[in-house]
Point group: C2
Chain length 326, copies 2
């Protein structure tokens, strides 16, 4: 069966799609009430975030748009030191989308939400003309435990910068799929709560965290340097890149510093806790390839010391990058 | 200037669009921090809602997609008895969208958010191939004051049903624009807080509220009847419809009961407060044409007594309705 404009009517056909796909996978006591908004009890400091996902193809090695949208919003909340609790999801379906494909993606969202400990409490579905595509918006609420203050403004000279793993996997995976290149590269799409839990449980004084998505590490570090009013210095040889991804990037002239990722983060911690934080990260599933990649110093901008010993500026991403990577 | 794929890169061109359009209109202390998520203090019972908007044309008589998306999410929160506080917005821009058009729409969102007393605290922008279109997702949080319990499950036999104004204006406006028919019909797109404030300030025991959007009054009342386990009986002659909209609907064979609205609501209240509630509504800007249109009785389903005295079933909307009405 294919999606038709009638699935967006708000009438009988919409309701049938609701129960046969969304209701089936997302069933929970809040959503089942079918009200205009979810009613929740919450208290204290919260994080509130939104992201739309337009990735093509919809399914790829290591994930799909459903897993991606849950992980993306969960990671945004985690990066503020929050414990993710509730998600909403807004679906924009293109006419002609295969309902079986939608069912697999919604099932994948439900599984990832369960694994991440978040409940999907409200949703919306619209249908537009098109050729079987799908966009998903996820918005999320997380609770920030008392005493946590994680912000891109908190870095200070002397702090060390940790990267949770290899760069460029998601980017190379999506591009391989579009170019129909056969290889073993799979997306790193994943929820980073194992890493954040490990750091906070050990009382690491995490100053700043950011997931390294669209724009790549280069862009994200520039934003952190700007916001904190500091300089960031990287050592190229310390930045982990999977061998196959490196080969792929070299052939296409891509720089891993600007390749998108969907399960990688940077954490900035005080120098004296850096080694401990690294070991904690490396013991987690999503942080096993973690490395200390640089430090925060006085000044401004982001710089990298190359393998040949030269220092060069790392600017933000120019140009269009890889369209529809997330 | 037109939107290009580079505006979705997450790099320099994205950042420029961010500051020149979104930053300019949405400027506030939370958003200016440019973190992965907004950090907010909140306490108690909240409502959390999401909606995506795909209306075409983007601008129409009485509003635009920007005004519509703020009002739509604000109204969903209001219908749960909440005071809307915070919104996020996720933009999906099609390549070729005119940046001046985007600027007007974002400006309209900002003005409507200010009028509704909500702050836009987080956002996201993606770019997809296409022909200059635009989709917006808005998610919102509102705070529900202690003691309020508004739910589609609360109706009881004897309760009266109020409709806040004329049916079909938004639907007829959008359809007129697409058909390039010249008339005076304008969308009713608006925030319903004047009505909800008036009812709650006067301690009206509001059982159920719903905004009458996609699917129309017929569909919404069926959902309420189902959820409450009651029967709803309407009197056709009491349902307000603007004369010009009625003429338009008659020519096209449209039934106002299934036409979409963007600034109309039903409220179900105890019989003894119905007259007072009606007068309160009629004193507001958005409720000036309010009417008592029916009552809740024992049984199930929704029925209408026609002008000729016959009773017929009001079913939910079948078919595709008007595509991309909101």
């Amino acid at each position: 069966m294919k999606i038709t404009m009638a699935h967006g009517s708000g009438g009988k056909t919409s309701a049938e799609l609701m129960s046969s796909v969304f209701g089936k996978h997302f069933k929970n006591s809040v959503l089942d009430k079918m009200e205009d908004a979810a009613v929740l009890e919450i208290s204290g400091k919260i994080a509130f975030s939104t992201d739309s996902f337009v990735v093509t193809p919809l399914e790829f090695k290591g994930g799909d748009i459903g897993k991606l949208c849950v992980c993306g919003t969960v990671n945004d909340l985690l990066m503020m030191g929050a414990q993710p609790k509730y998600l909403t999801c807004g679906f924009i379906l293109e006419e002609g989308l295969d309902v079986d494909t939608l069912d697999r993606i919604v099932s994948s969202m439900a599984a990832q939400a369960k694994a991440a400990g978040v409940t999907i409490v409200a949703g919306d579905t619209k249908v537009v003309e098109g050729s079987g595509g799908l966009y998903i918006n996820t918005s999320g609420i997380g609770v920030i435990p008392a005493g946590r203050d994680v912000s891109a403004a908190n870095c200070e000279p002397g702090d060390q910068i940790l990267l949770s793993g290899t760069l460029g996997d998601h980017h190379a995976c999506i591009l391989s799929a579009r170019m129909e290149i056969e290889n073993n590269i799979k997306s790193d799409c994943g929820c980073l709560s194992d890493i954040t839990d490990a750091l906070f449980s050990a009382d690491i004084d995490v100053k700043t965290m950011r997931d390294v998505t669209r724009g790549g590490l280069g862009t994200i570090l520039n934003e952190i340097a700007d916001t904190s009013g500091c300089r960031i210095e990287l050592a190229e040889e310390s930045i982990p890149v999977n061998e196959e991804v490196r080969g792929f990037a070299d052939i296409l002239g891509l720089d891993p510093l600007y390749m998108g990722n969907e399960g990688k983060m940077v954490a900035v911690v005080p120098a004296e806790q850096a080694q401990q934080a690294l070991e904690l990260m490396q013991k987690t599933e999503h942080g096993k390839d973690a490395a200390i990649i640089g430090q925060v110093t006085e000044g401004s901008g982001t710089f990298i010391t190359t393998r040949l010993g030269a220092s060069r500026v790392v600017d933000v991403l120019y140009g269009e990058g890889l369209p529809r990577i997330c």
